[in-house]
Symmetry: C2
Amino acid sequence: MDSTAPTDGQQASAEKPATERADCVEELAFDVFAKACPSRATLAHATGRWGSLTLGALYDGTLRFNELRRRVDGVSEKMLSQTLHALERDGLVHREAQLTNPPRVDYELTPLGSEVAERLLQLIHLVEGRMDEVLRARERYDAARGGR
Amino acid sequence: MDSTAPTDGQQASAEKPATERADCVEELAFDVFAKACPSRATLAHATGRWGSLTLGALYDGTLRFNELRRRVDGVSEKMLSQTLHALERDGLVHREAQLTNPPRVDYELTPLGSEVAERLLQLIHLVEGRMDEVLRARERYDAARGGR
DNA sequence: CGGTATCCTATTAGATACTG
DNA sequence: CAGTATCTAATAGGATACCG
């Protein structure tokens, strides 16, 4: 049960025991702070190492499998495949296959995926624009504690 | 070389070979699409499983170590410690220790951390508000392909 | 081209025990 | 309280081979 499974523990087709599901809403501001909330998994798919970059790449428009692979530098076939399946399952990406020869498969964001990608890109843009601050903070931290 | 290391491969105090750093800017819309960009690591810290929840929890205000642990349901001491160190190193979180007895340590967002958390929270809020869509998409996907 | 299946390694996460 | 150290389990990730 590994290889190209949808990234999660199970939940692909199995159900979790009742004890793990109940405590979702509680008095928390956001459900996601409670473990075993489905939103936690979706957020993980969207923000994960490859998920965020895949969504970001697709924000500019539809891309084919190997186009995506070249855009998202460093992703392996396996991880891209897994990532796309997880995002498709969550309804963030739409897969359009044409059974021609050679085959052609297009991936594009759904409306929801587009909204998610937009927020992700805002975050990416913010972080990139402030990397100088981050780098300086790292130097300070390493100077103070890195010496140990 | 594991235990409480700052989540990354090395780079805590070691440098990567030059071959892995150069290709950062290129013609990409965002650096982060190129591997070996420092922004990729920072983004990973902020969006990671525990990083996003930690930043989200701190957005409401300063919290102590064990308060955070209770807020971020399911995080272990070790992972919270690691996560906080990574976020502090990147300049997203400020750590304020009082050497009293018993010790008291407060964690709060830096101005940059606050901006990052804000965008993160927008994402979290979006995903949570649309979980019904996600769940329906999952049912459709599993009905079509889960049968295999 | 657009993937899956398999095998294997590396990284991450958790439990537990211990310290200032 | 606020962690660190250590050991182990689970998961992510990569290389390779193969298929429609």
